[in-house]
Amino acid sequence: MKSALISTRGLKKIYGKRDSKFEALKGIDLDIHSGESVAIIGKSGSGKSTLMHLLALLDKPTEGSIKLNGKNTSKLKQGKLNRLRNKEFGFVFQSFFMNSNDSVLNNVILPLKIAGIRRSERRRRALEALKTVELEDKAKNKANDLSGGQKQRVCIARALVNNPKIIFADEPTGNLDSATGAKIEELLFSLNRNKGITLIVVTHDEELAMKCDRQIRIADGQIVADGVSGAKHDPKLIEDENLDGMRDKNHTKEIEVEEK
């Protein structure tokens, strides 16, 4: 069997020291496969964001291991971690996190600028990403002048501009009304389906969670349920069941995790 894209064992996260010590994650074992769409669902404060930050290599676990493509990430140098996040991951946050005084285009360009890509090239790629989210006509607008739904689409454009393998979305529809939220969900799932991007969505919204291939339910820092949804939104569901092999075909480039 193909090894998992992300694999965690005994993941613990403790915030604070001594008296104010708080165990946000109490030992998470998890395997996420390439091309999956996974919902991490749970009440507020259950540890969803903490888990996502660990999976996205934004933070280090207090205990336990995270393997990416079978390689342990704990020994990776900071520079390597930065490059992994920059090139292989995309991020979508509940409250957007945009540079609101900057233009839409510049916001989308940001990951490419950090990667040190040439001006003309990054402009071309950013416009392409904006096209995917149907906002190419807003490229020159100030980010602040957009509606909430448009802002989140810009953030999705920013998340996919570097052709990531995984998109991490933390409450992506939390700040949006349900109609707008539905469009954003649509967009994210189409990226998952059509580009084979692994989608990890953190949410407390049951409806959104059920649209994913798989739901990982968290309470008090522990996984209480991990299962495949019976109410999948997608008629292509049957294919999805044994899709791993296929997905790897149209998604040949693997994440490279070298240890240097």
Partner: protein, 434 residues
């Protein structure tokens, strides 16, 4: 992230809080303006001194006096030019002259191209009606064609047939009893002039002295070029020389000063050899050097002002950037989440500091060049009208570039503190922060 992007972003970030950045740049500007203008004045004055040296005989020109006279002048200079006259100590000292064998030796030194003895005038003391005290006199000739800066009155008339006129130092005027210095202008002072021949044959100095009167036409502020001496006009100088040398047979009149033209390459060596012979030699450069020392001291004071301004500006930079780091916490968090390294975050904030330094220096250069240009114009039309070729300020590109670079480096150092804080920010905390 590319360096060009970092610089570009740093610059656009500055204009996000325009007033704050502007005030910081203004503080840097004050420092850079002061230092750049100082250096321009320094360059102008140096060029002027170089020209003066050439006008006054050039590099090979030496003025000589007996070592004893030189030492006596030095001690006067060290006492603000005011030493009370006593017969015991001062007898003879003021009349030491250049001896024949000294002339012979000096003439034969390797590198001495020509050697002249100058007629001289020496007085024992000066006094006035307002005081009992007598003060040792050091006489200089007002050479026609050289202008003086008078603090009161005017410069002595250089016509040979004029009345006896003298300009004296302000300190001497006070010592002579004129607390209100301006009052001495138009007053007569008494000068005791010795006759070499009579003094040779008498023990009582006062018996060989002739007292002559001269009108004080002006005073000079104690300063570098005026030195401690009094300045006699040609008529007075000639009269003193006449009294000094009366009765001496032709050819036996002594000289107290000599000039020589020497090979500039060997000048230092020759000066050393003259010193051994008993002659103290000064080149024009030495005299300019005294002025230079004084002038440098003034510049140092102004440069200290500039430096203090820069220290204050650095604190401004630190403050401005700490505020920027605080405001941009989320932005920094996002940059880092998207893979920007700590060192790039550090660089982007120091780049901002350097940009502040850059703009401050640039404005400093531009404004000091404008001010310097205006000052040049005003100066040549007024107090420097006698020196039409003298430029008060000269702006040398490399000097300005180096000053700007140093200021940018100081700004960078100031920026490292806030930049360090920015680079240490944890992206998670920044992203949770709401």
């Amino acid at each position: 992230m590319k360096v060009l992007d970092i610089i570009h972003d740093a610059n656009s970030n500055l204009w996000r809080s325009k007033l704050r950045s502007f005030l910081t740049i203004l503080a840097i500007f004050v420092g850079s303006f002061t230092i750049i203008l100082n250096s321009a004045i320094n360059a102008g004055v140096n060029q002027f001194l170089d020209k003066q040296i050439e006008n006054m005989g050039g590099e090979g020109y030496l003025e000589m006096m007996p070592k004893s006279t030189y030492d006596s002048i030095s001690s006067m200079l060290n006492n603000n030019g005011i030493i009370e006259y006593t017969e015991e100590r001062d007898n003879g000292e003021t009349t030491s002259y250049i001896k024949d064998e000294e002339v012979e030796k000096a003439k034969n030194l390797d590198g001495v191209e020509s050697f002249y003895l100058l007629s001289s005038a020496s007085a024992d003391y000066v006094t006035s009606k307002r005081t009992e005290k007598r003060y040792r006199a050091m006489m200089n000739l007002v050479v026609p064609g050289i202008t003086f800066d008078m603090s009161n009155g005017k410069a002595p008339n250089t016509d040979e047939n004029a009345d006896y006129e003298i300009a004296i130092n302000e300190d001497l005027a006070k010592a002579l009893g004129y607390e209100n210095i301006a009052e001495i202008v138009g007053e007569k002072i008494q000068i005791a002039v010795p006759n070499t021949l009579k003094c040779y044959s008498t023990i009582k100095r006062n018996e060989c002295q002739t007292i002559i009167e001269a009108t004080v036409v002006g005073t000079q502020a104690p300063g570098i070029l005026s030195m401690a001496g009094s300045r006699a006009n040609m008529a007075l100088w000639n009269r003193i020389n006449e009294i000094n040398t009366e009765g001496l047979p032709e050819g036996s009149q002594h000289s107290y000063q000599a000039v020589a033209n020497v090979d500039p390459e060997k000048k230092d060596e020759i000066k050393k050899q003259l010193e051994e012979i008993g002659l103290s030699a000064m080149s024009v450069e030495d005299e300019a050097g005294m002025f230079q020392t004084f002038f440098d001291a003034i510049l140092i004071v102004f440069n200290i002002f500039g430096a203090i301004a820069l220290v204050a500006a650095s604190i401004g930079i630190i403050n401005t950037l700490f505020m920027a780091v605080q405001e941009r916490t989320r932005e920094i968090g996002l940059d880092k989440a998207l893979g920007m390294s700590n060192s790039k975050v550090f660089l982007s904030f120091t780049a901002e500091a350097i940009m502040l330094g850059f703009w401050g220096s640039l404005f400093g250069i531009v404004v000091s060049m404008i001010v310097g240009g205006i000052a040049n114009k005003v100066a040549t039309e007024t107090f420097l009208s006698d020196f039409p070729t003298f430029q008060l300020t000269i702006f040398e590109p490399w000097t300005m570039i180096s000053i700007a670079l140093i200021i940018m480096f100081i700004a960078f150092l100031a920026g490292t503190l806030p930049a360090r804080r920015a680079s240490k920010k944890n992206p998670i905390d920044a992203l949770r922060y709401e």
